[in-house]
Symmetry: C2
Subunit: 379 residues, 2 copies
């Protein structure tokens, strides 16, 4: 049996969204789920205890960053990533592919892998399917990701077709190189951009390899929202219902709901933590930029409808003061709140699926959050 398994509990009659459970060597979490991002073996500003308290069951960490700092050897010697960072819940690691394509210069793609430069030191590096597996095996994450090519958006059809085919060949090499299939589940990544036939081809290639889960990659890279939704709609029918589906890089409340409606089970994004560190909060009434001067004497909580630790104990005025004064405790408070907000949102989504009313929930949520307003911001 695979290290990672999926259990479909029910499908929403109103939308087709899936309520399920994913079992990993470090526990079980319900889906649809949002995974906070802990790039360098820490979710920025948070402690593992706080992540547990706010309800996170799985977090994501970045293979590329941990490879460079502190190096996967040190993490392995520490007893793996869970022990190194004191997190006993599930961990998903990406493959490094996205960072190679988004952060590095001078990359050269060849059949064997990708040559590029370290974004910190400028040193020349090489990442391949085999290397990505070796690093992730050393990290010991519960869910590993296959090493894929992340093409730019938009990309020409010919480029995308070549890329999809290479990603399929790389996926097969990943499966062969993966040394700990009993401890770690390896997910394949469906690519193909906005081309329906290429998504279909990619999904068929990968499902033939029988991964325990599948990601949909190459979205949330600048394409319009309706393009993302359309791609999800024509891709998921080619994915097996008994395996989890992971939409990479998505974390705005609207896209989480719209992704769930299209059959997605797992999501990750730096959005909630990144905007938190800039003083922007997600609330039941929409975005709130707590840095703004109008909150200087506002002693109400970030979100009057929220019962998180931040909202129960701290005011907008205090948090604004801290952030204006560059005090990191302010960033802890906003980060905690934003992560709690998304964890609770996903709980509500699961509850709505259970009650066959996710479509109604979407309408109400979009109205209250302000997504229906003209020129509404995307988070």
């Amino acid at each position: 049996m695979s290290a990672v398994t999926y259990e479909l509990i029910k499908t929403c009659k109103q939308t087709g969204a899936r309520l399920g459970r994913v079992h990993t060597p470090h526990g079980t979490f319900e889906t649809p789920v949002f995974m906070p991002v802990g790039t360098l073996a820490t979710v920025k500003t948070m402690s593992p205890e706080e992540l547990k308290e706010l309800g996170a069951g799985i977090i994501l960490s970045n293979t590329y960053h941990l490879w460079l700092r502190p190096g996967e050897d040190i993490v392995r010697e520490a007893g793996g990533l869970h022990k190194f960072m004191n997190w006993d819940g599930s961990i998903l690691t990406d493959s490094g592919g996205f960072q190679v394509f988004s952060l590095s210069d001078l990359r050269e793609i060849e059949e064997q892998g990708v040559h590029f430069r370290n974004h910190i030191s400028g040193e020349k590096l090489f990442l391949s399917p085999e290397k990505a597996m070796q690093i992730q095996n050393a990290l010991g994450s519960d869910i590993m990701m296959a090493f894929d090519e992340c093409p730019p958006y938009p990309a020409e059809y010919k480029y995308m077709k070549d890329s999809v085919e290479r990603t399929s060949r790389w996926a097969e090499r990943c499966l062969t190189a993966h040394e700990r299939p009993d401890d770690q589940g390896l997910f394949g990544i469906v690519q193909g951009g906005e081309y329906e036939d290429l998504r279909k081809q990619s999904a068929r290639d990968l499902t033939a390899l029988d991964f325990p889960g599948y990601a949909i990659g190459g979205l949330s890279v600048g394409e319009p929202k309706d393009v993302m939704n359309r791609v999800l709609e024509f891709t998921t029918p080619y994915l097996p219902t008994e395996k989890p589906r992971y939409l990479m890089g998505v974390g705005s409340p609207d896209s989480l709901i719209d992704g769930a409606i299209r059959g997605i089970d797992m999501f990750d994004c730096v959005l909630p933590t990144r905007i938190a560190r800039n003083g922007t909060c997600m609330t039941s009434n929409g975005r709130l930029v707590v840095r703004n001067a109008k909150f200087a004497r506002d002693f109400s909580p970030l979100d009057p409808n929220c019962d998180c630790h931040t909202c129960r104990n701290y005011s907008r005025a205090y948090i604004r003061h801290l952030i204006k004064a560059d005090e990191t405790f302010g960033l802890r408070l906003t980060t905690y709140h934003n992560l709690y907000f998304l964890v609770k949102l996903m709980e509500q989504v699961r509850e709505a699926i259970r009650a066959d009313r996710l479509g109604d929930f979407r309408d109400q949520f979009f109205e209250q959050y302000g997504f229906n307003k003209p020129n509404a911001k995307n988070f």
Copy 2:
């Protein structure tokens, strides 16, 4: 009865150190005590819950900084500093005097007060005994400090004598201006540099005004350690035994013990939190610079003899990784540890006073920490 009272429990037969209790409107703490510094209504990187968990009973906050940001009006409107920052323990606020003299340019001292420039905006400001009281009354701290002049070290005798006399006149004006004596205790500050007769004069002037507590100011400003000890020895005899004595700006383990031996009850310093943010830790075996390369693969705790949350759960290698990668969680872990270390040290000091063996404790501690080595660093 004063808002703040002191209860002498016993005096160490071996050293003369005092074991006591200070009662404030927000509770009681045992002395000798170390007070963590929360300059801008936050002890940098820490939550109030963490401060409570590690055993802090009283923290210090800075009047000058809160006056500039967010402004004392906002703190008063929030219901006072305790409510603003969600800290229900005791708070001591300084008078702003030290910051005016250490941070600002172009200061001009006159009988009425001090003209100077805001260290952030450059704006011209004026601080006086009356203004310092008005701000601290708005903040609502349990212990307020009189507005004093902090002369440079070293200072000529004539300058120091004039300064001491002005500080005494200012102290009287502070008492008159203090509007909430039932809620907040106001401490006087004894000045006089290294001049015994001036320390005596200052102590006599101030004790005649019957403050509920007395600070010894103008030390830990660059003078040799034996000068500090000598000043304490010839000053404390002029202070009443039934009032608490606070040595301002002291936080290195050796000086805390040596201060306690000389009859000091309260201490504060940014040292433990500031060096923590630079990756330097206080341990039972001396200073440990966890940033150093030699700890990259050291999976032991910061201090093998420490049972704090950091040491129970995180390794030197992980903390080094976080600090090297500029991850604030690393600073949380070192800050927590250093504060816990000093809180525990003061518990040990109190235990040693109770057992009439603080002199023996000093010898053992200095040996183990390395203070007896030639060229030992001061913390």
